[in-house]
């Protein structure tokens, strides 16, 4: 953790700049605007995330993080702006469309049924069944175990009810569910809020696992320590604008905090331009 904050350790070329030159971003948004009546929630926001990259989306309350996430998830479509998924121009107007494009969101409430067991939750709404309409429990259990093992999740039993699991395990189940839905981009809303130290560790490990699998991950978090531990880039929102982008290998928590609060505006702006420059100017 200390390593990643220290800019001097970032010896090898960062994944971001390495990818940007060759690859299409998994998701690219340009000039996103969104208003609620007279309130401008998002002003000309650009956003991009690449495969195999974890992006941290930070900002104070009311900075527009959630609004931005909702436009990506299709819950609250943007008023205008361009969206590209893997280079293809798309319009994300509903959660179903987002899901079809491989974008899945894990909200803070996780949307799990406490009374059902792990397998039932993993496959809820898309159960495997025989031609006679009987559930194929064994097939689902096998696939469920496989995806949980890929994510290095440990649970007492895959037949335990979700109510009996710890907070970290529940978060893991919610994420595993998105992978079974063939997600390419996973949005995590405050994944470590309300978790203990060990549970947080578990979830951060899970996020790293997702990156290893080549998935694009966006993490919204208030906890900068967590952010610095797992993300590759930090995007800072303030008052509905994207005010800065940092490569975690070459920045410090102090600079990010400064960008979030708007202190030392001049210095922050410099960092922002510099980072954007290495990425080929979005």
């Amino acid at each position: 953790m200390a390593e990643s904050i220290n800019p001097s350790v970032g010896g090898k070329p960062s994944t971001v700049s390495g990818r940007a030159a060759t690859e299409q971003p998994r998701l690219l948004m340009r000039g996103i605007n969104k208003s609620f009546g007279a309130v401008r929630a998002l002003t000309n926001v650009d956003f991009e995330v690449y495969d195999g990259e974890v992006v941290g989306l930070v900002g104070d309350n009311g900075a527009g993080k959630s609004t931005l996430i909702k436009t990506i998830a299709g819950v609250g479509p943007a008023d205008d702006g361009e969206v590209f998924v893997a280079g293809e121009p798309v319009k994300i107007t509903s959660p179903q469309i987002a899901s079809r494009l491989g974008i899945e969101t894990v909200y803070q409430d996780l949307a799990l049924c406490d009374n059902l067991d792990v397998v039932s939750n993993l496959f809820l709404g898309r159960e495997h069944h025989t031609p006679f309409g009987v559930l194929s429990e064994i097939e689902m259990e096998r696939q469920g175990l496989n995806v949980l093992r890929t994510l290095d999740v440990k649970i007492p039993s895959i037949r335990a009810t979700v109510a009996a699991l710890s907070g970290g395990q529940r978060q893991s189940i919610a994420v595993a569910k998105t992978i079974l839905r063939n997600a390419k981009l996973i949005l995590l809303d405050e994944p470590t809020a309300a978790l203990g130290v060990a549970q947080t560790k578990q979830v951060l490990n899970l996020i790293l696992r997702l990156r290893e699998q080549g998935l694009a991950v966006v993490v919204i978090s208030h906890n900068l320590a967590d952010v610095f531990e797992v993300v590759d880039r930090v995007i800072v929102m303030r008052l509905g604008k994207r005010v800065a982008t940092f490569d975690v290998k070459s920045t410090t928590a102090e600079k990010v905090v400064a960008a979030i609060t708007g202190a030392e505006f001049g210095e922050m702006l410099q960092t922002s331009t510099a980072t954007n420059g290495t990425e080929g100017g979005q």
């Binding site: 049924c113 809820l124 159960e127 559930l135 064994i138 096998r142 093992r149 649970i155 895959i158």
Partner: protein, 426 residues
């Protein structure tokens, strides 16, 4: 499915590693007694309560309770409660309530009775129309609850009042309509309303064989896929208990002497219908996606909706099925009593809900098994039966019934709390 899974799915042999690396190996050994009570042995407190009640009546009635004749009676008297309880369980599972089961049950029996006796419809047609009227009533209730989002408590209370009025209109002032159609009576209300021996013994035995075969088949499949399996002892115990209970009940019923000396009654048609319906509902609830959606809607509506489940359809269909089953209950009761009365049994509604709750169906939705309502019904039924054997009036019975209901719910709540506090930190 997902590329990631395919990428990492090894040969079937490798899945062994999957199970052991994801699931804690010591899970089954580590369960405390409290956890067992919430899980596999959840029926134990209810069973013990039933045994205690039965033993009490066996002693205080001087051995009348445990006679085969009385046990057969006990079963036949409680068919309506049992099926109505099954009906209300469906609605309780999605976290709603249906206060109209008793009225709908009687109303549909009246519809059948009027069609058959006054308009001379063929009996089978009258029965089918009676059941369909029930389904329609339920669908209307469900429409108000699921689409218009009116609390089910109010909707079904209003329905209950309205249909008890409509019922009086249908009967046109008649207090009791005597059913005389031989077919309708033959279902439950005549000396011939019992299954022939080969069916009475054969059907339950067939069900057990299918059950055991499916369990063993699943065991083999799980072992082949490298999934965690139950121990052989556990498996044999599970099958053994079912065999003993089912064949024991069948043996009692087959050895019940009829009023005519030398003839034995056998398994009542109504009991076969009740257990057939429970079996059917159990299969739908536990083995099909539809059943899983019902539990999901009861557990977390928002999660169910986000998973793409048609919550409105699930809710409406549960109310429709509930009232349809209530109609079946009413029709069987009409046949058993050889009549339909304008007065709706005041106990039926509370007994049906009490039987479900005593059996462990949660009032908050998403929890409960249909088999447990058998125990709940037996407890309610044996109280009524035992107190009648002791020539006690309904005053004492209602006091005891209320106390038992409260006790059962309290025990359930306490066990839940113990388990919640023993859970690992979250």
């Amino acid at each position: 499915m997902s590329e990631i899974i395919n990428k990492t799915t090894p040969t079937p042999g490798g899945s062994d590693v999957a199970a052991s690396s994801v699931e804690a190996p010591s899970y089954t050994q580590k369960r405390s007694f409290g956890q067992l009570l919430r899980g596999d042995l959840g029926f134990l407190p209810v069973l013990l309560t039933f045994v205690a009640i039965a033993t009490y009546f066996e002693i205080t009635t001087g051995g009348l309770f445990f006679t085969t004749g009385n046990l057969s009676n006990l079963l036949q008297q409680n068919i309506q409660i049992g099926i109505a309880s099954l009906a209300v369980t469906l609605v309780l599972l999605i976290g709603e309530i249906d206060l109209s089961v008793a009225v709908v049950s009687t109303f549909c029996a009246v519809v059948m009775g009027v069609l058959s006796e006054r308009y001379h419809f063929p009996p089978a047609l009258a029965i089918i129309i009676g059941i369909l009227v029930g389904v329609l009533i339920g669908a209307i209730n469900g429409f108000f609850v699921a689409v218009l989002r009116i609390p089910s408590f109010i909707v079904t209370l209003a329905a209950s009042i309205a249909y008890s009025g409509l019922l009086l209109t249908l009967l046109a002032g008649q207090a009791t309509l005597i059913i005389s159609d031989p077919f309708i009576l033959s279902i439950a209300g005549s000396a011939r309303s019992f299954l022939p021996d080969f069916l009475g013994v054969g059907l339950p035995t067939l069900a057990i064989i299918l059950y055991a075969a499916s369990i063993l088949w699943e065991q083999v499949q799980r072992r082949r896929s490298g999934l965690r399996t139950k121990s052989l002892v556990q498996l044999l115990l599970q099958i053994g208990i079912v065999v003993v209970i089912v064949e024991g009940v069948v043996a009692i019923l087959e050895n019940t002497p009829s009023p005519t000396p030398g003839i034995y009654l056998g398994v009542p048609n109504t009991a076969a219908i009740l257990f057939g319906l429970i079996l059917l509902v159990w299969v739908v609830l536990t083995k099909t996606p539809y059943g899983r959606y019902i539990y999901a809607v009861g557990g977390n509506v928002e999660a169910a909706r986000r998973a793409g489940i048609n919550v409105v359809f699930i809710r409406m269909s549960m109310f429709a099925l509930c009232s349809g089953l209530a109609a079946v209950a009413g029709i069987l009761q009409a046949s058993y009593a050889n009549s339909v009365a304008s007065a709706v049994s005041s106990d039926l509604l509370l007994s049906a809900i009490a039987a479900a709750v005593i059996g462990g169906v949660s009032l908050f939705g998403g929890k409960g098994s249909v088999w447990s309502i058998v125990l709940g019904t037996l407890i309610i039924g044996s109280l009524v039966n035992g107190l009648a054997l002791r020539s006690q009036g309904s005053d004492i019975r209602q006091i005891v019934e209320g106390a038992v209901l409260l006790l059962a719910v309290t025990i359930d709540a306490i066990i839940r709390r113990i388990q919640a506090s023993s859970k690992s930190g979250r």
